[in-house]
C-alpha cells in the first residue's frame, strides 16, 4: 500500500469537497442552462440577445480567468455596494461569500452557458409532430412540457450533458488555485511538504478516473431510460 503519511483523511475530505462542488454546480448549471436555452429560443429579442451574449462571452474566455474575475471581482463588487450603503446611509451589512459557495456559483455560471447550448439543440431536435400531437390531444403548455418536450429533449441532451459533466468534474480542480481545499490542493500541499509528488498526485488522479467511470455508467443507464421506445423502434426497422 502507498503510505499517505497522515494526509489520507484530509485527501478524503478534499475528495468529498470535489464531489459536492461538482454535483451542486451541475444542478445549478442545469437550471441556468434551461433558462438560457429558453431565453435564446424566446421571441423576445432582448432575452435572445442576453442569452447569446452570455453563452458567447463565457465560452470565449478561459475558465480560470472567469474564476479569478468572479472570485476576486465578485468580492470587490459586493464590497463597493456595501461600502456605498454604509457611506450614504450608515447601513452596515456583512455579506460574507464563502469560498465554497463562490466556487459553486462560478462553475455553474461557466457551465450554464455550455448547458444552454446543449439544451437548445435538444429542444430543437424534438420532432414537431410530437408537439402537434400533444396539441391535438388538447394538452396545456405545462403538461406538454412535462410529458412531451422535457422527456424527449432529455434523450437528445443526455450525450451532451454527460460530456459537459466530465469537463465540469475536471474543472473543479481549478478551485484549488483560488484557495478552496479540494483534493487537488491537499495533494499539492502534501507533495510539496513531503517531497513525494507521485504518492499524492497519482491517487488523486485515480479518484478522478473512478468518479468519471462511475458517472459514465450512470449516464449509460439514464440514456437507456430516456431511449425507451426508440431502441425498440430501431430493432424493428432493422
Amino acid at each position: 500500500m502507498i503510505d499517505l503519511q497522515g494526509y489520507g483523511p484530509r485527501i478524503l475530505e478534499g475528495a468529498l469537497v470535489t464531489i459536492e462542488l461538482a454535483v451542486l454546480s451541475l444542478l445549478l448549471a442545469i437550471v441556468l442552462g434551461l433558462l438560457t436555452a429558453s431565453a435564446k429560443m424566446s421571441r423576445n429579442w432582448i432575452l435572445h440577445r442576453i442569452g447569446t451574449l452570455y453563452t458567447t462571452v463565457i465560452r470565449g474566455v478561459p475558465d480560470l480567468v472567469l474564476m479569478l474575475l468572479l472570485f476576486f471581482g465578485g468580492q470587490m463588487g459586493i464590497n463597493m455596494v456595501t461600502d456605498w450603503l454604509y457611506d450614504q446611509f450608515g447601513i452596515d451589512i456583512f455579506i460574507n461569500i464563502n469560498e465554497f459557495v463562490a466556487g459553486v456559483v462560478t462553475i455553474a455560471l461557466i457551465f450554464g452557458a455550455y448547458m444552454g447550448e446543449t439544451f437548445r439543440g435538444a429542444f430543437l431536435a424534438v420532432d414537431s409532430g410530437q408537439i402537434e400531437a400533444g396539441r391535438a390531444y388538447g394538452m396545456s403548455e405545462g403538461l406538454m412540457f412535462r410529458r412531451i418536450r422535457f422527456p424527449q429533449m432529455m434523450r437528445h441532451a443526455l450525450p451532451g450533458l454527460s460530456n459537459n459533466w466530465m469537463v465540469l468534474l475536471k474543472t473543479t480542480a481549478l478551485v484549488s488555485i483560488i484557495g478552496l481545499t479540494d483534493m487537488v490542493r491537499v495533494a499539492a500541499e502534501a507533495s510539496k511538504a513531503t517531497h513525494e509528488p507521485f504518492t499524492f498526485l497519482i491517487p488523486v488522479a485515480l479518484i478522478y478516473l473512478a468518479i468519471a467511470s462511475v458517472s459514465e455508467w450512470i449516464f449509460a443507464r439514464l440514456q437507456k431510460h430516456y431511449n425507451v421506445g426508440f431502441g425498440e423502434a430501431d430493432e424493428w426497422n432493422n
Binding site: 503519511q5 497522515g6 468580492q75 470587490m76 500541499e189
Partner: protein, 256 residues
C-alpha cells in the same frame, strides 16, 4: 422650530450611533500560509507560527476570541475589504500603497529582506552584473516582487510564485539561481532546512523605505479605527510584560 432641531439632532445621533464600530467579541484574521516561521501548518493541518501565536496572545490580552481564516496572498486585501475577515496578520509590510487601502496597526516586527543562493553559487553580490540572465524567485505581489522587478527586471528572469513554499521547492529543484524574501522566512525554509546548502549574499536589505516600508503591521479596514487602537494598546502591554519577547525568542533566537 425647537422640535425640528431635536429631530435633526436625534437622527444625527442615530446615524452616528450605527456608524460606530461594533464591539468585537471574535476577531477573524486573514492569513496566507505557509510562510514559515511566521505562519504555517503542522502536518495535522493546525496553524502555528509567530504571527499566529502573537495574534492569539493579543486576543487573549483583549479578552476576545481569535479565528484564523486562510487566504491566498493574491486576494488577501480584497478579502479584508469584503469582510471575509476583520484583520490581516500575515507578515504584511506597512507601506504607502497599502496604506491607501487599509489601516495598519503599529509595526510589531521589522525583519529585513535578503538574497538567498545555493552554497556553490557564483553570485557573490546581488547586482545587475551578477544577476544577469539568472532565474530569480519572488512571491507574486509582495514588496520583494516590486523591488526585484524594478531593480533587475531588465536583466534577470523573474519567476513569480503564488506561495513561498512553491518558490523554496523550485530553489531546491535547481530551477532558481537566487530568491529574494523576508530574512526569517528564508532562514527557516532554506538555511535551516535538512539539506540546506544555501547561503545569504549581500547585506540585509531594509532600504529604500518606498519599497520596504515600516515593518509588519496588522491591517484593518479603514473605518475600524477603534479596533486598531485596541490592538495597539494590547501590543504595547505584551511588549511591556514580556509575553512578546517570549514568543519572539521561541521563533527567532538562534534555533539550531
Amino acid at each position: 422650530m425647537n422640535k425640528l432641531l431635536t429631530v435633526t439632532l436625534l437622527s444625527a445621533a442615530l446615524i452616528a450611533g450605527t456608524a460606530q464600530a461594533r464591539d468585537y467579541d471574535t476577531v477573524r484574521f486573514g492569513v496566507d500560509v505557509p510562510y514559515e516561521p511566521m505562519e504555517y501548518r503542522t502536518p495535522e493541518g493546525e496553524l502555528t507560527g509567530f504571527d499566529i501565536e502573537l495574534g492569539n496572545a493579543l486576543c487573549a490580552e483583549m479578552g476576545i476570541e481569535c479565528e484564523w481564516i486562510v487566504q491566498g496572498w493574491d486576494g488577501i486585501i480584497p478579502g479584508l475589504m469584503s469582510r471575509k475577515y476583520d484583520a490581516i496578520m500575515s507578515s504584511m509590510t506597512i507601506n504607502e500603497e497599502r496604506r491607501e487601502q487599509v489601516l495598519f496597526s503599529d509595526p510589531y516586527f521589522t525583519p529585513p529582506s535578503a538574497w538567498f543562493v545555493p552554497s556553490d553559487s557564483n553570485i557573490d553580490m546581488p547586482a545587475k552584473e551578477t544577476l544577469e540572465g539568472k532565474n530569480i524567485g519572488v512571491q507574486r505581489g509582495t514588496l520583494q516582487d516590486n523591488y526585484v522587478s524594478d531593480m533587475y527586471g531588465d536583466v534577470a528572469d523573474i519567476n513569480r510564485y503564488a506561495t513561498a513554499d512553491d518558490m523554496v521547492l523550485d530553489m531546491e529543484a535547481g530551477r532558481l539561481d537566487a530568491v529574494f524574501l523576508d530574512f526569517p522566512v528564508g532562514k527557516s525554509t532554506l538555511l535551516d532546512s535538512e539539506d540546506g546548502n544555501y547561503k545569504v549574499v549581500g547585506s540585509m536589505i531594509t532600504e529604500p523605505k518606498s519599497y520596504f516600508g515600516d515593518g509588519f503591521g496588522i491591517a484593518f479596514r479603514k473605518r475600524d479605527e477603534d479596533l486598531a487602537s485596541k490592538f495597539n494598546e494590547a501590543l504595547a502591554t505584551l511588549k511591556e510584560n514580556g509575553t512578546y519577547d517570549q514568543i519572539f525568542n521561541k521563533y527567532f533566537s538562534n534555533r539550531k
